[in-house]
């Protein structure tokens, strides 16, 4: 999956640690998601989308 988490985070002027704090995950998890090494679970993906007030499909795109 591709995602625009890094862009959204920059737009909201949030550090990885601050975002991790708000989502209740570790900074490493945010880093791994941003780099595309880890696809988050559905609950976490929804939490991210809700936090940035964007539809989930805007934040995460499935690539064939």
């Amino acid at each position: 999956m591709k995602n625009i988490l890094k862009i959204l985070r920059a737009q909201h002027d949030l550090s990885q640690a601050a975002l991790a704090e708000q989502l209740g995950v570790s900074r490493q998890t945010i880093n791994a998601i941003e780099k595309g090494k880890y696809d988050p679970s559905l609950p976490l993906a929804f939490k991210i989308a809700r936090l940035f007030e964007r539809p989930i499909e805007d934040v995460f795109q499935y690539k064939d």
């Binding site: 995950v25 570790s26 988050p40």
Partner: protein, 150 residues
Amino acid sequence: MNAKETNQNWLDSLLIKMGGDRQGIKEMRLAFTYAAGCLLWAAISAISDVALENRMVTERWIWPVVILPIAITPVFFYAYYRFYTGMDELARKIQGAAMIMAFGATIFILATYMSLANVGIAEPGVNEMLSFMAVAYSLALIFQTIRYHK
């Protein structure tokens, strides 16, 4: 403030100084508890072994000394359960993958040894297999952590 809270605050402040985030600190605290559980279990197992092998206990105390390491095993598992459930999803995935890799490698080695035992090479003992599994688990954990965090 009770003793437990004081302890946690002391550990938290140390971990924050080391640059940890809240989830990381929580995981670190649970990992320390788990490590302490492992050490306690290992120490009691070793003491039990030494005491029995050297006949340091009277006949009356043989069974309690034999049972003690088994009796403390639930503490070890509970500490690991708390550690596992307290992790965030990526850390849990890393742990799960490492466990599967270690289990697979151990089964492979065990099957190999069992086949070799048919041609006269001694079968490995339970201790050797557990040691191998622990080493394989540690290596798999390092490999998985590097894979996701680099």
